[in-house]
Amino acid sequence: MSLLSLRDVRVQFNTAGGVVRAVNGVSLDLAVGETLGLVGESGCGKSTLGKAIMKLVPVAGGEILVEGVDIAPLNREQLTDMRRKVQMIFQDPYGSLNPRSTVGRSVAQPMVLAGWKPEATAERVETLLRWVGLPSDAKQRYPHEFSGGQRQRIGIARALALSPKLIICDEPVSALDVSVRAQVINLLEDLKSQFGVSYLFISHDLSVVEHIADRVAVMYLGMLFEVGGRDQIWKSPQHPYTRALLAAAPIANPKLARARQRTVLQGELPSPLNPPPGCPFNSRCPMAQDRCRVEKPVLRPVGNGAQAACHFV
């Protein structure tokens, strides 16, 4: 049984300009102990999908199953139980902590809500802070006394509080400096090997995803274009968008960067208010045919356990 299963999940927003289909039929499975990277450019719906799993945005259709249980019809109590299993780390280390709460109070929140005794809570906070590499006197201090990287550690401590099985990481390192980013990535990997937690790692940074993920899902305008093992995606990307994305990502190695042939993808992401008919990528795709302008491709197996949504792979 998958830890997390998404079945044709849809999220819509009503805006002044019309309906935005931010997530438009996503199906995805995440196994126990796996790190699944979810990549895509801004506006592709990857963060919205993460929030939908946490029930932070209303789901318009489809099913979200955690350990086989659909979370949509759960009552408050059952939801609390689900939330113990799935937690989230946010992007902005400056916004994800209440500036007027001490660090100790922020980290203790999950235990307080779960009805733990004060002594047990205090002990747990100490443990959590130690796990993420913060001094124990951190708990009396306020978020503004910490750097971005330390704040992100605090957010990780809070997410770990009730020993979740899955942590949704929404761009957890994109606001951090290079050296600190590596610290946080290493911490996430250490915690994974220590506690067997799984990650849904949402990021626009391909090199980070390549480093941390076991499997990768590529998203574009609300739909998945390709899902596959990390090596398979990087060595033999099937979907033209995946290929373009990989070609566009800068490589921190001047010789490799010069050596690779590079086709720069033209154009920009179409407005999600008015996506092109058929395949949403047809306006930029170098391989687009007439069929792509009318018929929307579906995700189908392409070998090696990978899936791609393109008429021509």
Binding site: V178, S179, V180, A248, E268
Partner: protein, 327 residues
């Protein structure tokens, strides 16, 4: 000195922030030259002084709190530090152009794209309004604006971030400046658009032979764009080398750390990223010796008391580190 002067030569530039909490040396003795057609990347983490260096070169520092307290910035041989603001108005946009990180906020939201480009042209050239408008159209074509003729009448909010950045680039190169400063020009953009803008900047630079300073924190972007790299830490230059040498044989422990901390797809996957412990010290609490010493893996007693000066470990290379000197 004889022969034609370099487009940009910075000598011992010092910029200090005067704040309530005391004076902070944001740029501490930066020297740098950029030749025609050359791209020098200025790399470092937030707070290392790379953006303030750019603003110092443009003489666009927010004063207060920041002020240039010493050094020279020679633009085509002329030191622009002592020049009055009126003279600078004629230089900025004409001899030296700048591209900022946030393209949308660096355009005037209530004026059309065409008017903004035309204004730059009419300020710095002899062109009449009609000619300037023709030239504005040409510039938009040149920067690869899709559907350029129609975009002339657009307001910035009607354009995407990538298109806005193209407009900003068009304005920066409108008067064919000899020096272009790009301050994190692609950080706010998506990967595929970033690739477009980087390719565009490279092409424009090659065509016009501009000298370019490229400021970024992203080593991937550095590897793709730069000829030479200057690594900054806490306001000082700690290493300078050609891009190939820097990535192949970094000398300063900080550079080594930065490269190790950046995952490189396609290269052999490391089990673990090499992280640099600790964090960048605040400028008002710099250690007495080398600013990197508290985080350094090769720290020696000497590093704690004495600031290392730049030395020349090989042709075209500079490094400020006692441990690297020793080899």
């Amino acid at each position: 000195m004889s022969g034609s002067a370099l487009p940009l030569e910075i000598v011992d530039l010092r910029t200090t922030l005067f704040t309530r909490r005391g004076e902070m040396k944001a740029v501490d003795g930066l020297s740098l030259t950029v030749g025609a057609g050359e791209t020098v990347a200025l790399v470092g983490e937030s707070g290392c002084g790379k953006s303030l260096s750019a603003l110092s070169i443009m003489r666009l520092l927010p004063d207060p709190p920041a002020r240039i307290v010493g050094g020279q910035v020679k633009l085509n041989g002329r030191d622009i530090v002592p020049l009055p603001e009126e003279t600078m108005l004629g230089i900025r946009g004409k001899e030296i152009g700048m591209i900022f990180q946030d393209p949308i906020s660096s355009l005037n939201p209530v004026t059309t794209v065409e008017k903004q480009i035309v204004e730059v042209l009419m300020t710095h050239t002899e062109l009449g309004r009609g000619q300037a408008r023709v030239r504005a159209h040409e510039l938009l074509e040149l920067v690869g604006m899709p559907d350029a003729a129609r975009r002339l009448d657009a307001y910035p909010h009607q354009l995407s971030g990538g298109m806005c950045q193209r407009v900003v680039i068009a304005m920066a190169i409108a008067c064919s400046p000899s020096v272009l400063i790009a301050d994190e020009p692609t950080t706010a953009l998506d990967v595929t658009v970033q690739a477009q803008v980087l390719a565009l900047l490279k092409k424009l630079q090659a065509d016009a032979g501009m000298a370019m300073i490229f400021i970024t924190h992203d080593l991937g972007v550095v590897a793709e764009t730069a000829d030479r790299v200057v690594v900054m830490y806490a306001g000082r230059k700690v290493e300078e080398a050609s891009v190939d040498e820097l990535f192949e044989n970094p000398l300063h422990p900080y550079t080594v750390g930065l490269i190790g901390a950046t995952p490189t797809p396609g290269a052999e996957r490391a089990e673990r990223l090499a992280d640099i412990p600790g964090m960048v010290p605040p400028l008002n609490a710099l250690p007495q010796g080398c600013a990197f010493a508290p985080r350094c893996t090769r720290v020696m007693d000497r590093c704690l008391t004495e600031k290392p000066a730049l030395t020349v470990p090989g042709p075209g290379r500079l490094v400020a580190c006692f441990a690297a000197e020793r080899g």
